[in-house]
Symmetry: C2
């Protein structure tokens, strides 16, 4: 790996560094013969530009960071995949920042945007990873797009489903099926999406004239383990729910596992609905009824928006709402008229 630079191939061809640079970047600005000679020499010498130098000079790194709470969650990794695709098409690389929910790490990653290692950040978390002075305009911030979550900054571009409506839809499905004792296992209650879904849940229940049992609202995290814990807690209650709305598919998987371990049948005894529609949801046993989030669309929109901002084309409308969809599968069951306690 003898590092060959512009200088070397300039020496070899007898042209100046400037001309070589032009031949490589602005082919039209040099004579045909020159370009050919330069290209041939560069090829032969195995020249690759030092992108660091290019970036320093052009003040563009060609990287974007995506800050994500957990890359091992397949909902997230599918979004990343979509981001990666769009970024690549537009000549950018993605720097992965798995924050594991730590604000400290989120901030560390966000710093890359300030230190010019990245041109912008896609934030899949609910808090801004740097301080924003009151009244500071978005344009002063590093290019940033907020995916799936909401930071409380209305002027930041934000992409996601309508979580309130999703909460409403999931709950209505359960209500439709005759359930009245409905529990929820929420995700991190600090997040806007969780709160919105919960609000949707409550509103749907109220609208149906059903009072929510306080014990039936379990606030934990988004993981499978949380689902296990939540389900155990719920089943230990004197008034067991007949249906559980889980705020992620992972939670739902955990709940179904726990229920199975306890000898409780899904959906025979308890119906389960998830949220996300991760790829495995339809292949689980039983196949999981869930609210589908269009991950490909979300990822693509995040990347497109961010790259547009970087290119100096901020969106006119900061908020992009992508459609969710109720996928009815086999983990929810219509209650018999006899069993329904209306």
């Amino acid at each position: 790996m003898a590092k060959v630079g512009l200088k070397d191939i300039a020496a070899q061809t007898g042209f100046s560094i400037a001309t070589v640079s032009h031949a490589l970047r602005n082919p039209d600005r040099v004579a045909d013969a020159t370009r050919k000679k330069v290209l041939a020499a560069a090829e032969a010498a195995g020249y690759t530009p030092n992108n660091l130098a290019v970036s320093l000079r052009t003040a563009r790194s060609g990287n974007i960071v995506v800050i994500i709470p957990d890359i091992a969650d397949s909902h997230n990794s599918n979004i990343i995949k979509a981001i990666e695709k769009v970024a690549r098409e537009r000549g950018y690389s993605v720097l992965l920042g798995d924050s594991q929910g730590s604000e400290k790490r989120e901030r560390e990653f966000a710093r890359m945007a300030r230190t010019r290692q990245a041109d912008g950040v896609i934030l899949m978390s609910h808090r801004l990873p740097f301080d924003r002075k009151p009244g500071e305009p978005v344009s002063k911030l590093p290019p940033i797009v907020n995916g799936c979550e909401y930071t409380g900054h209305d002027d930041l571009p934000q992409i996601g489903i309508d979580d309130y409506q999703a909460g409403l839809d999931a709950t209505r499905h359960l209500l439709d099926y005759g359930h009245r004792q409905i529990a929820v296992i929420t995700g991190d209650i600090e997040t806007h999406s969780t709160r919105e879904r919960l609000r949707g849940f409550n509103d749907a229940m109220t609208a149906a004239g059903v009072t929510v049992n306080d014990d039936h609202v379990i606030q934990l995290g988004y993981t499978l383990e949380d689902g296990i814990a939540g389900a155990q807690q719920l089943m230990a209650l004197p008034s067991r729910p007949s249906a559980i709305f889980c705020f992620s598919d992972e939670i739902a998987f955990g709940a179904m596992y726990a229920l199975r371990e306890m000898g409780i049948d899904v959906p025979g005894d308890v119906s389960i609905i998830g949220c996300d529609n991760i790829p495995l949801a339809r292949y689980f046993s039983p196949p999981l009824t869930t609210i589908a989030q269009p991950t490909a669309e979300i990822g693509a929109a995040c990347a497109t928006l961010l790259l547009d901002i970087i290119d100096g084309n901020p969106p006119t409308e900061p908020r992009v709402v992508v459609p969710h969809e109720l996928k009815i599968r086999e983990s929810t069951r219509r209650l018999d008229a006899s069993a329904a306690n209306r």
Copy 2:
């Protein structure tokens, strides 16, 4: 984001750029009072170094690329998580390269090491992502470590389980349980790991005096969909297997799904064993018997090795074998003496 540089804070404090730089990096080389003044000014001005410039100057980017065939596979994402952790501890960031199996993209990502955007690469694929001249020593190559797979270059540092032994162990478990009609659904047969596991399978069968039915060796990919296709193919056979060794847990999940759809019970009618032990394996229904790979250890070893190489400490022994472990759960069943056709 007025970009404040060393220059600015030098102007503010009245010191030279060099002194400011020293105060920030080599605190010992400047007077106490100076350092304090500089630090305060830097803090106040919100100074962040331009890492591009630092990298250009120091010829170290602080990034490593990890080239991975599919980030949405949780086996892989768990490895990434571990890599990320170690990298971060040692002051590196990880650039994610999801190649989706495309050699072209693998090469594009590997180029980052040449263009100095990254200091090294962790390769989770089975082919070298750049050309290596015959006889070219490893030291001439960009720092690279090969995880889980094998490129055919013996001198490249390589981390992974003993795939042959894993194939042997999985098959023996099935044999132990009285199965004789054992099928396999392999991963990508181009990969060394797949071939080794298959070799282990064949050897175990031969050693047990069982001849492998050619129709029982299905060569597909590592995905869940491949598992579905494989199981369908197998069950359409006149001589159905009583057990299937799937080369990934995803394949196993697919196979179990397909079997369930066909009304075939696992493990009642057919036993299934997977490979990887992804987090969901134990929570699936039925919980999946599988060969566990220590992803945390693999990821950590990959990162540690690579970073050591970058730091100029190449390993003495290129190959690191991490232990795998058979996890017996409920997807495999001991055949009754009556049912066993020995």
